[in-house]
Amino acid sequence: MSKQELLLLDCGVSPFCGRVRIALAEKGVEYESKEENVLGGKSELLLSSNPVYKKVPVLLHNGKPLCESSIIVQYIDEAWPSPPLLPTSPYERAQARFWGDFIEKKVFDGGSKIWKSKGEEIEVAKKEFIETLRQLEGTLGDKDFFGGENFGFVDILLIPLTTWFFAYEKFGDFKVEEECPKFSTWVKRCKQRENVVKALPEPEMVYEVVLMLRKMHGVE
């Protein structure tokens, strides 16, 4: 398959794009990437490929657009079956999808509440966020990765979101490592993987973006 048949409409700091970059790397699939200016002006290609949400990531495979990062990752897993990102048994696959859905509902929005809040609200948002991480720690247990021995679907959905945690820690005045040490260990384990490190931005860069977003939202 030539590179031109796969085009990722991308954005460096977007953790949702990060998921797709990692999944494609895990499968050893080559692709073209087009960086979108999500705050400055979205391209015609993005707007026409994702008319519903008008957001990145969009993966164009032979011109067919695929949207929503968790759905794109599942697509990548099905289109290139090796190595598998989801477990083989239906129940374990369902568990992975359940926790994927939980992550979608809780992590990014929960973290955003911390940097969007003022005064006492920050403390409330921080407590909720830490509780979410503790629930994830509970399901991780003593396993190396959420899927067990192998890095997989749930790890891929979650690890890019952690690049935003430095910003949450600054504004919420807390440290994930102190509140959720097991979670922190899992993050470090994932960051030993070349595909993860190459795909993700530095947390300090994300922090600069959050500072800008705070100004835009009138929080500063």
Partner: protein
């Protein structure tokens, strides 16, 4: 597959019915455990400690919440009468629209149902917009799954019955046959299919539930500082 199947569900929950329809389509025998969403039993807290909601599927003692996750599990466990297509890009589309319908369409319909006075007209906008996307998706097809009903039909299967009730109780018209002819026709066809037509909650029950829910929810909003 000889292991026992139980479904913890509720007559008021449109999410529960998706699972019943899927199990019946596949000819899977199950025990139905009735929950009242207004008065949750300890079972719910035991089998769905994370979200504390129905539906929950319990198969061979192992529990599974979240209706769209359960649908995929059912499809992978009982392979007859497949719900999702085989082609990965078509599967992705079905998942995309099911997620959209739950996260945007249903939420927008709910907001419109709750809104009052001048706010109602404004709140109907996003709901109508989301129905327009679904209209485009069903155009030219009998069902979202093609000739037969599939994953997406079950996921939006609340439209023929529940939307109708929310429109009545919420004093609004959303699924207009003139504005959304294909979606309207799909809705008429969907509720004629077995096992859907034999497995629909009594309308009066839903009307009464959503009527009292509306009073309660509006009183909560009124009491917010």
């Amino acid at each position: 597959m000889g292991e026992e199947v139980k479904l913890i569900g509720s007559i008021q929950s449109l999410f529960s019915f998706r699972i019943e329809w899927a199990l019946k389509l596949k000819g899977v025998e199950y025990e139905y455990i009735k929950e009242d969403v207004r008065n949750k039993s300890p079972l719910i807290f035991k089998y769905n400690p994370v979200h504390k909601k129905v539906p929950v599927l319990v198969h061979g003692g192992k529990s599974l919440p979240e209706s769209l996750v359960i649908l995929e599990y059912i499809d992978e466990t009982w392979k007859n009468c497949p719900l999702l297509p085989e082609d990965p890009s078509q599967r992705a589309m079905a998942r995309f629209w099911a997620k959209y319908a739950d996260e945007k369409c249903l939420i927008a319909v709910w907001q419109a149902y709750m809104a009052e006075g001048e706010e109602k007209e404004k709140a109907m906008g996003p709901a109508l917009e989301s129905l327009a996307f679904l209209e485009k998706e069903i155009k030219g097809k009998k069902f979202f799954g093609g000739e037969k009903i599939g994953f997406l039909d079950l996921a939006v299967g609340w439209i023929p019955h529940w939307l109708n009730v929310l429109e009545e109780v919420g004093s609004m018209k959303l699924l207009d046959a003139e504005k959304f002819p294909s979606l309207h026709e799909w809705a008429e066809n969907f509720i004629q299919i077995s096992p859907i037509k034999e497995c629909i909650p009594p309308r009066e029950e839903l009307v009464s539930y959503f009527h009292s829910a509306l009073i309660y929810l509006r009183s909560l909003s009124a009491n917010k500082p």
